[in-house]
Symmetry: C2
Subunit: 313 residues, 2 copies
């Protein structure tokens, strides 16, 4: 149905903003030929500036063989921009009417065996694909800002998306150097934004109540959990911090703390089912590693992060 | 009243667990003479293992001149452990009765001009200091795990704490290589844990509802916002991402999104007062820097973090 992942050479990126520009830079850096569609000619200068800025970082991270900014062609005409595309990343403005009309058009001018992914952070694919005549190959591929640097891409289909599209997008993004996360359900905010948004709203409450300033919030994150979270997610951070007992010890020991007013967000009931999911999930991630090894690796990576930040300034 | 910060040479650390051990390693690495109090002789072996593990990282971060593990003396007798101390870091078990009794004793055997700081993460100093006859010099000094690596220390007094104690603790921790955060109010969870706990409870909800697995949660953090948060806190991340307009643009543009179900935590009302606090706070942090410079610095540091993590594995 879709082409082989290894055969993808031509990618089209739609959108002139920081997300569309970021994706364009990402695909160029990973050795693809990229056609970019800009709605208006006047956007070209800003678009090139995004690429130039992104390229500095992408070079420092390491370019793929043959990667070059010269492999970009810019179009202001949608039909020419999508011609020959083997994958399309759409980063149009975040308005449902604009996206619906765009997918209606793309649905007829782009061959059905080409996957079209949307960068939307706030809309659902079920709604975006409503007017599209070929919705099976449409999917969400939500990056994190800046998209040329942060590896995450969250993937989820709408009601009419073919499950094979989701699987293909996962493989393609992985091959293109991204870290895909396939969502279990189509929920608002996906996973990463939900986590960030919970933290953000607690931060706003603290500032609103005079409990902390913006400087306090940033100080708390930068010098507190963030460096560890960059190395270990929060699940493994708790799992490893509790020694041999891992997540089971964490939940049994700190379970009662979930009832404490340590944030304005109420925790879910710690049922046996939730406990088992957390414990089994962490055991799977650890996949047999000893907690002491994991703690040593955590420390080594945190030291590397702290030293790297210091040296980068 | 208290001694000059630069005159502090002798620190006492109370507690044999990972927090007491972590603080001991931190002060030794920063060139202090440290007396450690262990409740029981049987704890010595585990305690030394914590120190040895911490020392690997502390060496890699850079030891202060003259810093040595040999400058540690271990006691099982409280009076001898606190004798001559110019600062005491208490990391006893997280039980109010144990801490109250301990501060009752410390209140009489430790001279009044010596600050005593508690590592507690869940108790309030107002309660801990209740039975202490000299509560003015007692204060919270809450580290983040692992305390020998993550620089944050959150400082807040209880009702009977002298404000000079808070100021002294802030200066002393900064001089000892920590990043202090003085709390505006005595609230449960302080600042960093509240942020982390909001994120954590949203994660538990997602796992409970089959929206994500523990592996998804960690993937989302590690490959999504964490590396950026380690470089820029969340306030400055939004401020810089919005270009010239900064936090004002963010709140005006994404303000309506605060009403969306992007997390189970309800946001506070975005009043003019909250908006002003956020905007002014970010302007202060930026202190005149151009957003383009800040974005370039952000990218440079994120690249350094991502490369450092890769190389550390």
């Amino acid at each position: 149905m879709f082409c082989e992942i290894t055969e993808v050479r031509n990618v089209t990126s739609l959108g002139a903003g920081p997300i569309g520009g970021g994706w364009t830079a990402h695909f160029l850096a990973n050795g693809y030929d990229v056609k970019a569609y800009l709605h208006d000619k006047s956007e070209i200068e800003d678009f090139y500036n995004i690429l130039k800025t992104a390229w500095i970082s992408l070079k420092a991270l390491g370019l793929a063989q043959g990667a070059s900014l010269d492999r970009l062609t810019i179009f202001n005409d949608l039909e020419s921009a999508v011609e020959g595309a083997q994958f399309i990343q759409e980063s149009a403005p975040e308005r449902l009417d604009i996206k619906q009309t765009l997918y209606q058009t793309l649905g007829t001018i782009v061959p059905q065996n080409v996957v079209i992914a949307s960068s939307t952070s706030g809309l659902m694919m079920t709604n975006i694909q409503e007017k599209c005549s070929t919705p099976g190959r449409t999917v969400i591929g939500h990056p994190f800002n800046p998209p040329y640097l942060l590896p995450l891409v969250e993937i989820v289909g709408g009601k009419k998306t073919n499950p094979k599209t989701v699987a293909w997008a996962e493989s393609f993004y992985a091959a293109s150097g991204k870290s895909p996360l396939v969502m279990k359900k189509e929920i608002p905010g996906f996973v990463a934004t939900r986590l960030q948004e919970a933290l953000w709203r607690e931060a706003l409450h603290m500032v609103a109540n005079g409990e902390a300033t913006p400087a306090d919030i940033d100080n708390a994150l930068i010098n507190g959990p963030a460096a560890r979270m960059a190395v270990q997610g929060q699940c493994m951070a708790f799992h490893v911090a509790c020694g041999e007992g891992g997540m089971a010890t964490n939940l049994d020991q700190f379970g009662p703390a979930l009832k404490l007013p340590w944030t304005r967000l109420k925790a879910p009931e710690l049922t046996k089912e939730l406990r088992d999911r957390m414990v089994n999930g962490c055991t799977e991630i650890a996949s047999g590693q000893d907690f002491k090894e994991m703690a040593l690796q955590r420390d080594k990576s945190i030291v590397a992060v702290l030293n790297a930040i210091k040296q980068s300034k």
